[in-house]
Point group: C2
């Protein structure tokens, strides 16, 4: 769990340099604010002030609660799963490639500040000119970084003629096929860009998406968004695997963050995977999101034995059926023929693995007296043609679990490679 | 913050006795399960098993994370605010008073188990007969009590002729009037019964509402539900006041849980308040819920000065305008005439105070590119005729803040007095 070191107010870091456009962020916060006057006056800058008032302390503070933003790969994928999710898909409304670049530069500057637990803009929430809108909306003041990660990707629709990116579309970024029993709501699906915000505090994740939305004004608009929760951030790392709303441990078979060989093989796009204009995607990954409504009332009327046969693991310990320990090795062919774990297992799918990072959701009711609840399935992989698509094809056809599920939304994105110091999100794609 | 004492598996407590019907909970979990056969076999009982697997530890564990269920008043009102909310309103579908009583008895037995961090039913999530549905749905196994409180109340609609309760309707339980600019959605408003589940883990709160929903099958159905968040549970008690989505500290002027004189005066219904058949409500309170959509995009374009004039407090420290400290005493008449804090202040409202316990919400998007976000306002008070109604009347007419708000749902409930050992929720109302 997050260490309890009190956080001291740190001095503002230097403004991001290099690929990041300071002027862009000025304009972004300015346009969401009072327009050119504010920008002209130069009060809003791509600088960040520490997001803590003097004397405050608490968990989530301290630099150990900061997940570094820069690196070879984006954070938020092989990062230990945080407690809370706010996910948003955006329609790009920018009409030129330059505008798209400026948006991604501004998002980068903001993401650098936010993931460091800083307020965005020169004055932050309260330090600006009183007659100007604050550059930071303020609801995350005092909440620290709380392991915030922001992970950004580009959907198939970004690679149309609008920005001259058609040739740069990776061959692996295919449109997902329709699967049997899909019940997708188009307005809740897809999107030119996606942002996954994960943090150990819900308000920190929501503040981040709100801030990026605000910065995007005039250049991109939220298409849909989803809130999700795992467990409270108070649980220590040795804690048991979290459970989904069917009461089963979920995430057992995930590759470990430390297993870089498996991650290179299964999660990160390798330089050899794409050639030419699409080579930019090396170091990135593909994200599939599925909003899966779970029919918990029906499930709750099913016997324990039936539930375990459907999953292929025991409910209490999470062990594969016929085994004692959650992490025991097992032969998938010994599990029931239509069990979820058998059908999804790498050995039944040409060795393909995904890194699943889903969150539970509960969105009020369905209007029929039932909770509208389920799993917001998020899975990262090197190639959807080898992982999600064949696995979901098998599951949708044969999986006993499907009877209790309804896929209500879907999206796929090519997640940008990591951002080097001074670079910006998507630079590998947009600077060619 | 929650202590880190590792939790040891405790033995199951004795089944609730006295007013609580063991048979009722049997039937409840049985009917949601495989019907009379299960009940006949006697495998599901109103007993609880500890909700932790052996060897698990972590925050949220330990008896200090348990808020006692029994007492003079229900927990969840003067309880230090927890990080997460799941609120549900129910339509009672029971057709007899006996059935209503059995529902409340079964809810009580379950609430005793849940708030103690136990699984519901004899076998819990995995210890029952394999051919029967588990008595507990399992997603909160290993998550401990996490300060779960369950707070239950009765809405005006419960006091019609269905259950012979018309004479017992408290005079103070008035229907809320329509306020200027209300934009209420009826399907998201009101309800015969309400349950407020608060915990320091979202999954614990969701599990509790799901469990009560399951137990209610055939006797009550969820009408609407709302998820809310405050801050992560990792923040220690000395932490700053949480902020709402307008970036201001929210809750500053609340009466302290230790200030029993103010609570008796302003929050708890006193024996002298109601006579005759309505006297049952003494020791209870009145809850007003308002789902308030906040137009954050408009707010974000407003200057810092304007924002502070609208609220009447400074954004950074939360101090009343013209003062230095958040908790400085102030004369409301020195604040701007149309400021929120001036208009809502006790001195402008005949001394009336409420205990506000609201949570922020973010429910996806509004379909127009904006986040559907705001405050799920929850306020407890001794008499809505003296507190919420006059205050909201003034606010809706004059408050500069109203311009940025839209009240989209509403409800009012008489919250039951506390449950003594062996008693059940609402017994004071239903046993007369
Ligand atoms: C609400 C829907 C779903 C539920 C409740 C669910 C539940 C589970 C559970 C309980 C496990 C076993 C524990 C673990 O290894 O994590 C599991 C494993 C797995 N699931 Fe799902 N799952 C769902 C959807 C999906 C989907 C849509 C896919 C992919 C198309 C998928 C792919 C997998 C894979 C690859 C494994 C690991 C199998 C192994 O290697 O042992 N799941 N799931
Ligand atoms: C989204 C809507 C609302 C927002 C953003 C909001 C915000 C605030 C803020 C920032 C404060 C000052 C800090 C504090 O004392 O907690 C406050 C105080 C207060 N608010 Fe609200 N409020 C909202 C709705 C309401 C409503 C609907 C009512 C009642 C009808 C209300 C009644 C009060 C009261 C009684 C106070 C304390 C005043 C005092 O004694 O100083 N608020 N509110």
């Amino acid at each position: 769990m997050a260490p309890k070191t009190p956080r001291t107010t740190t001095s503002a870091p230097a403004a991001p340099s290099g690929g990041v456009s300071r002027r862009g962020l000025l304009a972004a916060l300015g346009s969401g604010a009072v327009g050119a006057g504010l920008v002209g006056a130069g009060v809003v800058a791509a600088e960040a002030s520490a997001r803590s008032s003097s004397g405050s302390s608490g968990a989530g503070g301290g630099s150990a609660s900061v997940v570094p933003f820069h690196g070879e790969h984006q954070a938020g994928i092989a990062t230990d799963v945080q407690a809370n999710l706010h996910f948003a898909a955006f329609d790009v409304t920018a009409t030129s490639r330059d505008e798209l670049v400026s948006l991604l530069q501004d998002w980068t500057a903001a993401a650098v500040a936010l993931t460091a637990g800083k307020e965005v803009g020169a004055g932050g929430a309260t330090g600006g000119r009183p007659l100007a809108p604050p550059s930071d909306t303020g609801e995350a003041v005092d909440l620290h970084a709380n392991r915030l990660t922001l992970t950004v990707g580009a959907g198939p629709s970004l690679f149309d003629d609008r920005f001259g990116l058609a040739a740069a579309r990776p061959a692996a970024l295919v449109d997902l096929p329709a699967f049997p029993a899909d019940a997708l709501v188009p307005e809740r699906s897809d999107g030119d860009l996606c942002v996954q915000a994960c943090a150990d505090d819900p308000q920190v994740a929501v503040h981040a998406i709100r801030t990026l939305t605000r910065i995007a004004a005039g250049r991109a608009a939220v298409r849909w968004a989803q809130l999700g929760y795992g467990r409270a951030a108070t649980v220590d790392p040795g804690a048991p695997t979290p459970r989904n709303l069917f009461g089963f441990k979920d995430g057992t078979a995930n590759p470990a963050a430390s297993d870089t060989a498996t991650l290179d093989d299964q999660v990160w796009v390798q330089p050899s995977d794409e050639q030419g204009a699409a080579a930019w995607v090396a170091g990135g990954s593909y994200l599939v999101a599925r909003r899966i409504r779970m029919h918990i009332e029906t499930w709750d009327r099913t016997s324990l034995q039936e539930q375990e046969q459907v999953i292929g693991r025991t409910k209490g310990s999470g062990a594969p059926l016929g085994h004692a320990g959650e992490h025991d090795a097992f032969d998938a062919r010994t599990l029931p023929a239509s069990s979820h774990v058998r059908l999804a297992h790498p050995s039944m799918n040409g060795g393909a693995q995904m890194l699943r990072r889903g969150y539970n959701f509960t969105d009020g009711t369905d209007g029929l007296g039932h909770l509208d609840a389920g799993l917001f399935f998020l899975a990262y992989q090197r190639d959807v043609r080898k992982a999600f698509i064949p696995i979901q094809t098998a599951l949708a056809r044969q999986d006993a679990l499907s009877e209790y599920l309804e896929h209500t939304a879907s999206g796929v994105w090519a997640v940008f490679p990591g951002v080097p110091q001074g670079g910006y999100l998507g630079q590998q794609l947009l600077s060619v």
